[in-house]
């Protein structure tokens, strides 16, 4: 039986009066890529924020490596976050720092590595995501696809056990999308870690996912391998996968 790296259990999340999640549970299998699909605004990104403690649930529990992160002191949560990489939807690179400084930041703050060692690691990590000779550029000087890859590099440079990707291929052309999907797979294999990917891009998901979870109206309505999800008899899942306007999903 597959080991779990994280588990979201009976979680409820509300924004003011709006219920975003109600009794949501989800298992994150260790060493696998779990993709979360669902309509825009369904709360997919909120699941990523629950997993690294950026968002506390209004009810329920979130376990990471067996620890309920909803009830630990902030200092312990900060330590835990060092073992979780987060690639943001719009990359969220610090715009006053160069790409090198962005990626070196967690190494400078959390490790005792020397500058030469950091420089070597940043360079090799950037090469690992297919970026070369961009170290001294500012984020504003990079294209969308390059920024996403730089964001990947910053998320994985500390060799985290879990990497969270928020819409890694949204708004990119098919070639870059394919490249980034391949990069996520390669990084997971290289780090021998676990990844959770939030995406709308079904082709990418079919390429990389070990498990797929579909979020709808605040709950996970389908979970399984790509093949299992494709064969799901749930009409909501089928409508979503086919991109059809006709079906039970209200438009």
């Amino acid at each position: 039986m597959a080991e779990l790296l994280a588990r979201i259990e009976d979680v409820a999340v509300r924004y003011k009066q709006k219920v975003v999640m109600e009794s949501l549970s989800l298992d994150i299998v260790e060493g696998a890529i779990t993709c979360i699909i669902g309509l825009s605004g369904a709360g997919k990104s909120t699941i990523l924020r629950l997993l690294n403690g950026l968002r506390k649930p209004d009810a329920g529990h979130v376990y990471v490596k067996g620890v309920d992160i909803c009830h630990i002191p902030e200092r312990q949560l900060v330590d835990l976050r060092r073992s979780i990489g987060f690639s943001f939807q719009f990359s969220a690179m610090f715009d006053s720092l160069t790409i090198f400084e962005n990626i070196a930041l967690p190494l400078r703050e959390h490790t005792k590595m020397g500058e030469r060692e950091i420089a070597d690691l940043v360079k090799s990590t950037l090469e690992g995501v297919g970026l070369a000779n961009v170290e001294q550029r500012l984020p504003s000087e990079l294209s969308g696809g390059m920024l996403k890859r730089a964001g990947f590099a910053r998320a994985v440079v500390t060799n985290p056990e879990l990497v969270l990707y928020d819409e890694p291929t949204t708004g990119l052309d098919p070639i870059i999308t394919h490249l980034l999907t391949d990069t996520i797979k390669r990084l997971r294999e290289k780090l021998n870690g676990t990844a959770v990917v939030v995406s709308h891009d079904l082709q990418s998901i079919y390429m990389m996912a070990d498990y797929v979870a579909m979020l709808f109206e605040g709950a996970i309505i389908a979970y399984g391998t790509v093949e299992e999800i494709k064969k799901s008899i749930n009409p909501i899942v089928q409508q979503f996968l086919q991109g059809s306007e006709v079906g039970p999903i209200p438009i």
Partner: protein, 260 residues
Amino acid sequence: MNMLENVGRETSSFFEYVGGATALLGDSTRFIFTLRIRIKETLDQAYRLGVESTAIVCLTSLFTGFVISLESATQAVQYGAESLIGGGVAFISVRELGPMLSAVVVAGRTGAAIAAEIGSMVVTEQVEALQALGLSPVRMLVVPRLVALMVMMPLLTVFADLVSFLGGMWIANSSAHVPTDTFLTSAKSAVTIIDVLKGLFKALIFAVIIAVIGSYQGLGTRGGAAGVGKSTTGAVVTAIILIFIANFAMSYILFRPAGG
């Protein structure tokens, strides 16, 4: 009923704001006392927030010095008290206008910059990215700005005092023909080093107000570009109001005559 609800909501928001800003100051102080200060970032902020404000602070202080001297000279000449102009200009510059005017100018320029910069980082998820990397936004963003302003604000006030005083001396000499020696002697007798130090203490408190309010507004930014604009305006307005209130309170406490 609606009015009561509104009063309740506003009161609750007020205390939430005060509590939040105080907690932010507390967190920042903890990082400062444990010496977890990012030196390079702090020096960078000292240049951007302090050094780059020097020209505007000096310019406003110069013309304020002109006005104080001109107005007091007009009155003093009527009563034959030209020899008191130097004391008047020095007294008002060092104790009140130097610290407060510099603080108001810096609140407008720097407080807005702090709120806008941190606010932009919030709406572009950069602050969340810091947290996701296991880094404290307070230590990374607020502390360098706070420490930089606490160092630079008293220095700017010294410049403001000097420029205002020299401007006043020039106007007194050119418009009321008050000799420089007379002006200086009058100033020396009116202002002590304790007055100067108390003025600089005021500047230090104003620096804390500007940095904490700017940072707090920035960190509380919600909702894109419009939110950044709202935070920036809020930072400037709130900081200026607090500067005036704090100035009165400190003048009352620091400059109250003994036994008064």
